[in-house]
């Protein structure tokens, strides 16, 4: 059973635009199995890991992620997360998880008010999550960011809880957007729902400039395979 493929569900909301990229990396690069999950459905199709990819769900109108959180699929994902299922929110996916209350905090507009697309250096702060088993603590990795609402905010209580419980998983080495405590990615208290602004799927093939993101998918697969 050791080499059985792990099934990743890739959620598609209207306006999601990194679904195909994420699917491609899971299938072609990580060598696992990917299935699309349409926002109107409630069936996760046997997914062992659910990924909410990047993009502009509902155009990012109102607030990034604010409308997507009401989708039927989100109810299923909430239940899945409560049962301990692995959920990964990338960029807009992270914003949706925040809006849905699966992760604490909220996103504000970037400090410079502009969209920023570029590679950033990140520090791996917690290497003990299901998504970061293949990284080591303190390691510096490179992944692209591409967002205009990535300025992470949380109340002082939430923020200190995050720090206390080692829920901060990635920090920017140089803060590009004003995020509190340089936060680039966080995990929930239970340790199964990760959200991050950088795009691991864009850092999964050497010719695109980095393979540091691939390990996130491989790590989640390994975790599922071994549990």
């Amino acid at each position: 059973m050791g080499n059985r493929k792990i099934r990743f569900g890739v959620v598609v909301f209207p306006g999601t635009n990194c679904d195909r990229d994420t699917y491609h990396v899971i299938e072609e690069v990580a060598g696992e199995e990917a299935v699309y999950l349409w926002h109107k459905e409630r069936d996760l199709k046997g997914s062992q890991v659910v990924v909410l990819p990047g993009g502009f769900s509902y155009g990012d109108y109102l607030r990034s992620g604010a409308i997507a959180r009401f989708s039927p699929i989100m109810e299923a994902i909430k239940e899945f997360a409560e049962r301990g299922g692995l959920v990964l929110g990338i960029c807009n996916g992270f914003q949706i998880l925040l809006e849905a209350g699966l992760l604490p905090g909220a996103m504000l507009r970037n400090k410079g008010l502009r969209f920023i697309c570029r590679f950033e250096e990140l520090e791996v702060v917690n290497d003990a999550t299901p998504f970061t088993l293949l990284y080591s603590k303190g390691e510096r990795i490179r992944m692209p960011i591409a967002h205009i609402d990535g300025n992470y905010f949380a109340s002082p209580e939430d923020l200190s809880a995050l720090e206390r419980n080692a829920q901060v998983v990635f920090r920017y080495v140089e803060n590009p957007n004003g995020s509190l405590n340089d936060i680039a990615g966080i995990i929930n208290a239970k340790g199964n729902v990760l959200g991050l602004m950088p795009h691991p799927e864009r850092a999964s093939e050497a010719e695109l400039g980095s393979t540091d993101g691939l390990r996130m998918f491989l790590s989640a697969a390994k975790f599922v395979r071994e549990s």
């Binding site: 909220a106 504000l108 410079g112 905010f153 004003g178």
Partner: protein, 77 residues
């Protein structure tokens, strides 16, 4: 009926847009301006009996994010 809902950042939440506008206004010579905060406003046409309850619900549940925002609304006519 027409309702107006204002959604604004809670005090204490940094407002990057307001900050930038304030700085720009200072550069333009409007030194008298002490502070700028930016919010959103929704003009909603609504029918039916229950309009007030609906507006309150929509403002709270959908249009604002309680982590960072407050809201207030009024019926205009």
């Amino acid at each position: 009926m027409r309702a107006k809902i204002e959604v604004f950042l809670k005090p204490g939440v940094l407002d990057p847009q307001g900050e930038t506008i304030k700085r720009a206004l200072h550069t333009l010579g409007y030194e008298a301006i002490r502070d700028v905060r930016q919010g959103k406003v929704f003009y909603i046409e609504i029918e039916g009996e229950d309009a007030e309850r609906t507006i309150e619900e929509v403002a709270k549940r959908v249009l604002s994010n309680p982590v960072i925002e407050d809201y207030r609304w009024e019926i205009e006519k």
